[in-house]
């Protein structure tokens, strides 16, 4: 599978020709549509809402948001952000209903706190991992994006970001950036271990006052869905690691010394006397 984000920046890659190709390809249209529907399913919106579409491109995903029938809680209104002028140009020609912004999501999200009910992003945030200029790093751009997104969502709001991670390192980098920004994060994989794997990062911004406690994170979201296996690594992680080392023991002292050394502090060398009790003087 080709990865355009490896070679060029998003606004350079999606020029007029590429933007048109992308939008008119029926294969891409189908994939985008099904991913948008899946993302909406995960958002689980009951009333007409204001949604942020991150990396809206030519508005393929936005169209679906505008077309949700009233009995399913729609139609939603949306605000789209994209960095490629050519993509937005195609969106204008297609006469989409949402408001469009020419903006770089790696520079943050310029909306005031608590603006959006929800946010979706279809095949966009992997572009954040390849920002090569001397002034910014992918980590910085991810932090700015997730920080801005967290602020602009209302409390209890959800964001679903479908993306194509290059490898596990990238997946880890994106998830940890989201968690650092304050989100509760979970990952949903459709068709895992196949070529068509689709990765959805489901983020929740704080607890809503009305939501019950269970629906707070992704395990609550997918609870009622069919064919979803929940793999929860959190419990295991907590029980192992801590608890085995007793405070004050030799092992514990060595661990602390290593920690200090990593911080750059001056630490005395470890010897056979480390952690031993002094003999009783009297």
């Amino acid at each position: 599978m080709s990865r355009p984000e490896d070679t060029l920046l998003a606004d350079v890659h999606y020029d007029d020709v590429e933007a048109r190709k992308y939008t008119t390809s029926s294969r891409i249209q189908n994939i985008q549509a099904s991913m948008t529907r899946r993302a909406l399913e995960l958002l689980d919106l009951k009333t007409p809402s204001l949604i942020l579409d991150v990396g809206c491109g030519s508005g393929l995903s936005g169209e679906i948001l505008s077309d949700i029938p009233p009995e399913e809680g729609g139609p939603h209104i949306w605000i789209g952000m994209d960095i490629s002028p050519s993509m937005l140009d195609v969106a204008l020609q297609r006469d989409v209903e949402g408001d469009l912004f020419l903006a770089d999501i790696g520079q943050g999200v310029p909306f005031r706190a608590g603006t959006f009910d929800a946010a979706i992003s279809i095949s966009a945030i992997q572009w954040l991992c390849n920002a090569e200029s001397s002034e910014t790093s992918p980590q910085q751009r991810l932090a700015r994006f997730f920080g801005g997104l967290y602020q602009s969502l209302k409390r209890g709001g959800r964001a679903v970001c479908q993306f194509y991670p290059k490898n596990d390192v990238q997946k880890q980098m994106i998830t940890s950036a989201a968690v650092k920004a304050g989100f509760g994060a979970g990952m949903l994989e459709d068709d895992p271990d196949t070529k068509n794997v689709k990765v959805y990062l489901v983020l929740t911004a704080g607890q809503s006052a009305v939501a019950n406690t269970k629906s707070g994170d992704i395990t609550g979201v997918v609870e009622n869905m069919e064919g979803v296996d929940v793999v929860d690594n959190r419990r295991q992680g907590r029980s192992s690691g801590k608890g085995e080392i007793k405070k004050g023991s030799k092992q514990w002292i060595i661990k602390k010394k290593e920690q200090m050394e990593r911080k750059g502090k001056v630490v005395k060398a470890t010897s056979k006397y480390t952690g031993r009790k002094r003999r009783i003087a009297f």
Binding site: L50, I77, L88, L92, F101, D104, F111, R112, T136
Partner: protein, 127 residues
């Protein structure tokens, strides 16, 4: 860009984030257009508590619309008064800012708006 969106938009410059004057952005040399959008009362009721009424008042005065009342209508008022709902709908959803500039009240940065699309790309020293 809908006036509704303008009511949520702040300056993207980092140093303006902490200042309250960076919101709302002030339209300059604005060209407006009116679009027909179907009225969606549920959506307006959902959005009403989130609107910054003071900012909306400032914006609509700057664009030369008739003066809005001092306090926002309550949800009950909105649900019972059809004319109020229509007026608010046409102001927020149907009025579009097509050309012009949006100016930040703190740093004075001008965001150009062309064909309804504001340009929020910042030079890297402002991020």
């Amino acid at each position: 860009m809908k006036l509704l969106t303008l009511n949520f938009l702040t300056c993207a410059v980092k140093t303006c984030k902490s200042s309250s004057d960076s919101f709302p952005l002030h339209p300059k040399d604005a060209e407006l257009a009116s679009d027909d959008v179907e009225v969606n009362p549920e959506l307006l009721v959902n959005l009403l508590p989130r609107l910054d009424w003071k900012a909306l008042k400032t914006t609509s005065a700057e664009l030369g619309f008739p003066q809005l009342p001092d306090s926002p209508p309550t949800i009950e008022q909105l649900q019972s008064d059809d004319k109020l709902l229509k007026d608010l709908h046409s102001l927020l959803m149907e009025t579009n800012l097509m050309e012009g500039k949006l100016v930040c009240g703190v740093c004075g940065h001008e965001y150009a708006v062309r064909e309804g699309i504001p340009n929020f790309l910042l030079p890297s020293h402002l991020v």
